[in-house]
Amino acid sequence: MTVSPSAGHGNAERSAARDQAPHRRSRPVPVMRWLRRVAMFLGPWLMVLAFWYAIRYSGFFEPGLIPTPGQVAARFWDMLSRGELLIDMYMSTQRVFVGVALGTACAVPVGFLLGWYKGLRSFMDPLINFFRALPPIALIPLVIVYFGIGETAKVVILFYAAFFASVIVMYEGISQISPLYIRVAQTLGASDFEIFYRVIIPLAVPHALTALRVALGVAWATLVASELVAAQEGLGAVIQDASAYFQLDTIYMGIICIGFIALAMDLALRRLTRRLLSWQERND
């Protein structure tokens, strides 16, 4: 790390020094810190595994009803090596992607307008909360009637879930933007348009990213429901097929796959957010 010539300027100095050191990641990490990081990373998963084994061998449940982690892993490997699992993952990820992309693309401008115009918000609020409360699974029959049983129908359900989850995040965030920054910009001579793209947009970006993150989570949670619509491929379809044949290990595997893909996407999005919003004050 660069040593500042004059100490005592607090964190500004430190961060300035940090900005000037482009290779701070190459700094050797002490072994103990590294070990702790690994333990922190693996710990929760090992705990879940231990709990799983404990339930399995506790004798409270019929062993046939609870596959071991080993059986599930074997199932995973089996389906992966035959190639079909990759197709299922691809199909599901693609549906989630399209649903979230469309849902957030609509939610950001709509949420922005609702957050900005108080009157519009109080007018629309009951409607949004009404539609938000409807479980997507209840809409499936209607979706089939109007959109058929193709890809569109599945994406529509994901779009619905993603839109209503993220529109609320967006408008709550926008409505909390401090008028102080707008006033400052006005006293510097900014026009309404300049205020919009030089002040409002930068302040809206964090909320749009949070909205995207929430939409992604909700879409993965809705995936199985959307693949109830006559899906041949996809992780939700895998789970449903397995349930018809009572293949518990496959069901577990499908659920775990959904969880891990969702987790990976969330981590990626969080990392992106941190890079884009390095100016934000955070407490973590």
Binding site: A12, A16, Y181, R183, T187, L188, G189, E194, W279
Partner: protein, 276 residues
């Protein structure tokens, strides 16, 4: 009343807000004028309507009665010739120090060439002691540095007026004193016409050419004090006996207004409690 160098004129200005408990008059029939190069301080109790008066000059609010004029024209909205500093700084957290200062210079109202912008930014970063934090985000700056950044940003667009709403209120005593000296210093270089709101009698007397003591709500001007000390002022003034004398005299007067506001707040609370 309008001499050649009179800039801002309050003429019979009142401001009334609608509240849940009926109309509330916060400014009542205030008249005064601000000449070119004046440094005017408004001192009075919290909630007395000082900020409302400043907001009318800034153009964020219109008076309910009377007029606030700038060079004879009623003020209808904010403008780049009236820079403002706020108590909570208002530095843009998503912009680095240099981009904060450059913000105003990129606007259509005061656009300059990139080379000139860089010169102006460098100049004010140097002047405000921010040069080594050029690329830093405000989150890493202390309160005093944020306020210096806000001052640099306001100065960069070269406004004729500087409106300051308790700009040093959130700073500790030492930083506050340092900021006052910095402000005098900067003023010595480029003089502005200033309206400053403060609770500190010492600050008002040290910085301003004229001080208005504002009454408890609704705001009226209780006393106008012409501060007799010549510019440029230095730190030695703080220890001068005539400064101490004027300070204690004015402080007594201001304390009475604060006490009146306190009584008002207490009886208003009592009335509300009785109603309930």
């Amino acid at each position: 009343m309008t001499s050649s160098d009179t800039r801002i004129v309050f003429d019979g200005v009142s401001k009334t807000f609608d509240t849940d408990n009926g109309p509330l008059t916060v400014v009542d029939d205030v008249s005064f004028s601000v000449g070119d190069g004046d440094f005017i301080s408004l001192v009075g109790p919290s909630g007395c309507g000082k900020t409302t008066m400043l907001n009318m000059v800034a153009g964020f609010m219109q008076p309910s009665a009377g007029t606030v004029t700038l060079d004879g024209e009623p003020i209808r909205g904010p403008g780049a010739e009236r820079g403002m500093m706020f108590q909570d700084y208002g530095v843009f957290p998503w912009l680095s120090v240099e981009d904060n200062i450059a913000f105003g210079l990129k606007l259509k109202a005061n656009r300059v060439s990139a080379a000139e912008r860089r010169r102006t930014v460098d100049h004010f970063m140097e002047l405000m002691g921010l040069a080594e934090f050029r690329k830093a985000y405000p989150k890493t700056l202390s309160g005093g540095m944020r306020q210096r950044l806000a001052l640099a940003r306001a100065y960069a667009v070269n406004p004729q007026f500087l409106l300051m709403d308790e700009p040093f209120g959130a700073l500790d005593a030492q930083t506050r004193t340092a900021m006052q000296d910095l402000l005098l210093n900067v003023m010595g270089e480029v003089r502005k016409t200033v309206m400053l709101i403060t609770h500190s009698v010492e600050e008002a007397l040290y910085l301003s050419s004229r001080m208005l003591v504002i009454s408890a709500r609704p705001s009226r001007i209780r006393r106008v004090i012409e501060v007799p000390f010549p510019f440029p002022r230095t730190e030695a003034l703080r220890d001068a006996p005539e400064f101490a004398e004027l300070r204690s005299e004015v402080r007594d007067m201001v304390m009475r207004e604060y006490a009146a506001q306190e009584d008002q707040a207490r009886s208003a609370t009592a009335a509300r409690t009785q109603q309930a």
